[in-house]
Symmetry: C2
Subunit: 277 residues, 2 copies
Amino acid sequence: MPDSKETKGRKGDHQNVARAAQVIDIIAASGPNGLRMTDVTERSGLGGSTVHRLLAGLIEHGLIDQDPETNRYLVGLKMVSWTAAALSRYGLAPYADASLERLCAATSDTVYLSYRSGNDAVCVDRREGNFPIKTLTLALGDHRPLGIGAGSLSLLAFQPEDDRRRLLAEDAVRRATYGFDTAYLEEKIAETRERGFSLNDGKLISGMSGLGAPILRRDGTAVAALSIAAISSRLEGERLTELSQMLREEAQTLASRASDVLDAELVKRHSFRKVQT
Amino acid sequence: MPDSKETKGRKGDHQNVARAAQVIDIIAASGPNGLRMTDVTERSGLGGSTVHRLLAGLIEHGLIDQDPETNRYLVGLKMVSWTAAALSRYGLAPYADASLERLCAATSDTVYLSYRSGNDAVCVDRREGNFPIKTLTLALGDHRPLGIGAGSLSLLAFQPEDDRRRLLAEDAVRRATYGFDTAYLEEKIAETRERGFSLNDGKLISGMSGLGAPILRRDGTAVAALSIAAISSRLEGERLTELSQMLREEAQTLASRASDVLDAELVKRHSFRKVQT
DNA sequence: AACAAAACTTCCGTTTATCGGAAAACAAAG
DNA sequence: CTTTGTTTTCCGATAAACGGAAGTTTTGTT
């Protein structure tokens, strides 16, 4: 039998988690009606009995569900509670909702909350304003390389310098697919650091602009970002000034509300002198 | 999970997924600052090197993240995109947001969206109104036995009869911990089916009431529910009539918008016998 | 700043859970 | 009722996970 060498990155590394994740990814990538076992089998390239055993295990632990009507497999709702745990990091969760709501109401545009995860910014929440032209560039769970998009850029700009340098070097190729070269990005980073917020004016999607502000820890690193997206004509002149101001304030409010958790990790590091109030 | 026997030496028992899920559960159950490897080791009862290998695999595939500052483990943000996929089931996702928003704005109380998952109702979204007394009984990902709580009750009431009977028998013990005996619940189910919406008046948490309406497929089974929670004095008399009406309409609107997907699975089944309202 | 203790990572022989082919059970179409 | 396709079970061979112990790094304390 021919060896399927496509998924063979390294040898002997954690086949179990790899396969489970692969199967879930396959199911997640399918539409809202789920997949039959055969579909999973052929898309994964795994043996029939392996897939069967794997699916049984995944179901038993709630990672995937099986529709009782059709016997098709769907991503399990246990992911929802795990996601709730994932979002509770930094302690932002209890306050983020209110911040997004306020910004959304005040601007009528679409507002986003993103977290940094590795080399990416991930969209973890979104609120649509009621301005008739919607700019839904990011969906829940979407991720982009750091630096691409307003929120993502404000995250990158406020990483520690060595980290920033490493990221700039590492991800050049991925960023290129979005039409961002490193020199341009460096310029934008400097601008963002100086102003305290990021502005992305139509470079990514023409006609659409974005505004982003970082959620900072006390040591100045960003762990998350708030951002606003709108058609470019709504992010110019006086309105731009006004909104960027509002956005920055909201980001600071959010950061200070969560500051206990935000800094809890840092406090115990002796490299950090704590400024108690 | 129903596995009570934890000792090693069990045969052929999907150990891989079991352990991965166990580790993620442990991390999810910890606070916003995550856990060190040792914490995971002692809480899981697994060997040190096993946990190490497992964590490495989980990280590689994004199921958990490691805070670069503290090296502590957190639930990974990949869960967010998997959750997005989980919520896309039934095709409700694109419209649910707007429905919740409308209800929330109109009532000023807290509104919830729940899905059925196995024998439980799971809270998958929530919107807080601006009435000063908040009733946040359910958080994202929380689950309750079917029948407990307004949304959950409306889900149960609109399951196929055989299923309902089975659920009533199976979960009696779990429901008892909430103070619901089966006879009472049967009465409430009948009431709910008759009215088309469920009312939970202070039985679960005294002083708090809830109102729930099912999202129905064309065959009459509920796959999800919208619900409103408020202090009891806000769900009485004329306002109760008004809100229940609004809630039912919104649930119907939502169902009809998603109907293509909602019924896609059923269409291909020739066993489409019960077309009732 | 130096030391001790705790935590993390790697190594490697042993064990055992996983693999996948084949065939039985099951379901869907013709 | 037959045919075709899908799901489930079985089983021996083997690759992958296990875990004790040794080595390395981090963390907390004097």
